[in-house]
């Protein structure tokens, strides 16, 4: 059934942007060890491969920092997704400009103003944008100091800076704003930046309070949902009952006659209502849903057969790692099938956008993760030149990946074009978010691994997945564009290349292995539309790897933590493992019935942050319900920018991954998606929280920033799986870890 089973590297995303592995340094002469291809898969072009971070794609210094009489403005192409990245980037820029953080104005992604850094995704923001600012800010400061030195005719080394002022040896003083008048900041960045020992950092490494929190706890206008423009109309969309339906009949006049309705928009299978008041728009949407008559629709598979179906559908097979000679005689073996269900991003706030077509220019305020790719998609959809579309990032509810944000922005854009001069706000309803957001793919992995003489031997791992990166590379990737009378078609699916990986992210164990046979079957026919969700395939891959390690250790009668350490030479990997081992007093466990302890480790993408994690839990003997008693984790993300920000991300990742791993799956049957609200898609509530979480931060002063937001998703899932096995004596390999998901 497979379309092909051979390697076809031209279809790997990394070649699309023309970029291969990119070196990266935080400070001059730091080791160059990191690869990063994801940004290049997401629409940015590498202009200067030798420069650090996103200076590679945006090499001009004035793309990042501008100084004027009105102050210092710092620009980033990344966006605040609720991770605190805005505050962290400000800390980095202020550190290197040697100004107080409060002296800077920071602007995030806006296609009219900021650099194009592609998507804010993949734990890349500090890695890309933080590194760019770390270097650009230092180079700009050096130019300012040189300018003052020329004016005063002194050696620049004699000058000092503080609080945006330059001071000379004779007490001369010059503000940055004055110094910049003799400087052209529109210059290519240099590969080398002035050095600053980590020991001298004043802001990097400090936990600055987040800039965005005061507005969020006090009812400030903090979100795109809170925008109110003069004369703004409220829109709601009416979606088909399922993908592929055709609108057979629709009584538009009946809806137009409803109170407050300004316009009904019908374009093929695309339906929307526009009203003066939001409640009127909602009521009109409900009435419209009742009168719209649809036929047809794509078949929805049976949930019980989904993993069998994934193995049967057309796919392309990508070799991921095939090294060494396989010798499978006479050792301890573990062979299993591991599965994952479709998951939702499950943003608490349904997707929203505001758009305004005025004087020939369309402005869209959106919580997208990538304003530039979205702009290109919307421009193509509306047949406008891209320069006539401006996308401005405005915060929304946390997205954790590709949720409905881009589609809602396309809705707002389509609707705003029908009422030139009038701003339009559209927000999806809960059931629309649940039914139409791109899901995280259901997946299946087959493991067959061996241990001989306490050494990991051959590692066979075969993975089936649908795409994890259906980002906006053309108009057809925008859901509303597919519903129009002249519909757009989605661009062919392309997986993100290793080492970042797609469904195969973290499919290759970091452990020393005798031989590998690791392959991904990339299923291109999607029973459900799927795209990026926090950590992509790493969630199930790390779960499967770490379950296998524990099973092999158990069969061979060796300690699983010792077995991990025996196969890791990287001292930073060892350090996080040893920290957790000691902090949780491994392998001590509660002697009560149903108690279990589990351990896991991964380095995210094998090139980013390190995370070791242990869980103590109890499994209720009758119900199988899991209660998490204690989670201990140790993380190493290189140089820490904000310890509290990092801790917040790690704590949140632990809780979110616990929810995915223990409770979540999209429910569906031949009649449609059943998870249209929170009762049909339960997520973790306060009463199910871990009782205690301890986070250990292993700082690496002066080392490259590695990113933090996604490092814990896989290890948490894996440690839960191992702890449940330890508690019950039964190895559950089907996510979520509930009794009903396991074979009877």
């Amino acid at each position: 059934m497979s379309e092909s089973t051979g390697l076809n590297p031209s279809r790997r995303a990394f070649l699309r942007g023309g970029a291969l592995l990119m070196a990266f340094t935080l400070v001059p002469m730091a080791r160059r060890a990191l690869a990063d291809t994801e940004v290049d898969t997401l629409g940015t072009v590498v202009l200067a491969p030798d420069l650090p971070g996103s200076l590679r794609t945006n090499p001009y210094l004035d793309a990042w920092i501008r100084i004027g009489t009105d102050g210092i403005t710092v620009y980033t192409g990344k966006v605040e997704l609720g991770t605190g990245v805005k505050t962290a980037l400000l800390q980095i820029a202020a550190e290197r400009l040697q100004v107080p953080a409060s002296a800077l104005n920071l602007l995030t992604a806006d296609t009219a103003l900021t650099p194009n850094e592609g998507y804010t995704a993949g734990s890349h923001s500090i890695f890309d944008s933080g590194t760019a600012l770390f270097n650009a800010a230092a180079q700009v400061r050096e130019m300012l100091v040189d300018s003052a030195a020329r004016r005063w005719q002194v050696d620049p080394a004699q000058l000092t800076t503080a609080d945006a002022m330059i001071e000379g040896p004779a007490g001369q003083r010059m503000s940055y704003a004055e110094a910049v008048s003799n400087v052209d900041v529109h210059q290519y960045a240099k590969a080398q930046s002035p050095s600053l020992p980590a020991a001298d950092f004043k802001l990097i490494g400090q936990s600055l309070p987040r800039l965005d929190i005061p507005a969020k706890i006090s009812g400030g206008a903090a979100f795109v949902q809170d925008m109110r423009l003069p004369g703004m109309l409220h829109a709601r969309v009416i979606r088909p009952p399922r993908p592929g339906c055709t609108l057979e009949a629709f009584d538009a006049p009946a809806i137009e006659a409803l109170a407050g309705v300004v316009k009904v928009i019908r374009d093929g299978n695309y339906l929307a209502v526009l009203a003066r008041d939001e409640w009127q728009a909602i009521k009109a949407m409900r009435s419209a849903s009742e009168v719209a008559r649809w036929r047809g629709g794509d078949a929805i598979p049976e949930a019980a057969d989904i993993h069998t179906l994934l193995k049967r559908l057309p796919s392309r097979r990508y070799p991921i790692s095939n090294n060494g000679d396989v010798n499978i005689t006479g050792e301890t073996r573990f062979k299993a099938r591991v599965t994952k269900q479709y998951l939702m991003h499950g943003s608490i706030g349904p997707s929203c956008a505001v758009a305004w077509f005025k004087d020939g220019m369309l402005t869209v305020w959106t919580h997208t993760q990538g304003v530039y790719p979205l702009r290109a998609g919307i421009a193509e959809m509306l047949r406008l030149p891209p320069e006539r579309v401006r996308c401005i990032h405005t915060e929304g509810s946390g997205c954790y990946g590709h949720n409905g944000a881009d589609d809602a922005a396309a809705d707002a854009a389509l609707i705003a074009m029908r009422v030139p001069g009038t701003p339009v706000r559209v927000q999806w309803m809960r059931e629309q978010e649940n039914l139409w957001e791109p899901y995280s793919s259901a997946m299946v992995a087959e493991v067959d691994v061996g241990l001989a003489n306490n050494r990991l031997q051959d590692w066979h791992y075969e993975l089936w997945t649908t795409p994890h990166n259906e980002r906006i590379v053309n108009a057809g990737r925008l859901l509303p564009a597919r519903l129009l009378a002249q519909p757009f078609t989605s661009a062919p699916s392309v997986p993100i290349a290793q080492p970042e990986g797609d469904g195969d992210r973290n499919a290759v164990p970091l452990y020393d292995l005798g031989a590998t046979r690791i392959n991904m079957n990339f299923v291109t026919t999607m029973p459900f539309r799927t795209s990026a969700m926090r950590s992509l395939g790493a969630h199930i891959n790390i779960f499967a790897i770490e379950a296998s390690i524990d099973e092999l250790a158990s069969k061979a009668g060796v300690d699983p933590v010792a077995l991990r350490l025996a196969h890791l030479s990287d001292p930073r990997a060892r350090a996080v493992i040893e920290r957790v081992r000691d902090a949780i007093d491994w392998p001590h466990k509660n002697s009560e019935p149903g108690a279990g302890i589990g351990f896991a480790f991964a380095r995210y993408k094998n090139i980013m942050g390190y995370c070791a994690l242990a869980v103590r839990l109890r499994v209720h003997p009758q119900t199988g319900e899991v209660r998490i008693e204690h989670v201990v984790t140790a993380v190493d993300v290189g140089q820490i920018v904000s310890p509290d920000g990092l801790r917040n991300q790690v704590e949140g990742g632990i809780v979110q991954s616990a929810s995915w791993t223990l409770y979540e799956k999209v429910a569906y049957d031949a009649g449609g998606i059943r998870s249209y609200d929170w009762s049909g898609y339960p997520i973790l509530r306060f009463t199910q929280l871990p009782k205690k979480v301890d986070v250990h931060l292993l700082d690496q002063p002066g080392e490259p920033f590695l990113g933090a937001a996604e490092i814990v998703q896989g290890p948490m899932a894996a440690a839960l799986g191992n702890a449940v096995a330890n508690a019950t004596g039964r190895r559950w390999l089907n996510l979520p870890l509930s009794r009903s998901t396991q074979p009877s």
Binding site: G82, P214, I217
Partner: protein, 157 residues
């Protein structure tokens, strides 16, 4: 349309509303208050939580028509970004937010608890807060922030 008078954050507001309009839309669109958020419209997530008289309620489900004569409070009543109230200050101190979309609802549900039980233990807080969802996993910090106020003996929330 009916004339409906709502008492919001201590001030009487005479509004022209459709009587079936849930309180959430009156607060957001007719009074310009951003705190209460649309999350589900079903009373399942708590993003819209406000206090009516002394009880936490889901503003997304509560029609305006039944609220005349009642005291409605939103997160804006607790303080401002510049002058946060004690519970808001505790949320800032603990940095108890990630995306923050759920936070105003969390604050109001917690406020209702602390007004009735100024010193709840952690188990009580977890039970009480279970009506509200957070997707970022900020729960542990939210509990810490509430516990911080709960532990301040003699003080009022």
């Amino acid at each position: 349309m009916s004339q409906i008078t709502l008492n919001v954050n201590g001030a009487a507001q005479a509004l022209e509303l459709e009587p079936d309009m849930p309180l959430l839309y009156a607060l957001r669109n007719h009074l310009g208050l951003n705190g209460a958020k649309y999350g589900c419209g079903l009373g399942q997530c708590g993003a819209c939580t406000v206090i009516v008289d002394d009880q936490p309620v889901f503003a997304c489900l509560t029609p305006c028509a039944g609220l005349q004569g009642k005291q409605i409070r939103t997160v804006e009543s607790l303080g401002s970004a510049e002058k946060p109230g004690p519970l808001q200050a505790a949320f800032i101190e603990k940095q108890a937010a990630q995306c923050g979309y759920c936070i105003a609802g969390m604050l109001m549900r917690a406020q209702a608890l602390l007004e009735q039980n100024p010193h709840p233990d952690e188990e009580t807080i977890r039970e009480h807060m279970a009506a509200n969802l957070c997707r970022c996993g900020t729960h542990l910090r939210i509990i810490e922030a509430i516990s911080l106020v709960a532990g301040q003996h003699g003080s009022r929330p």
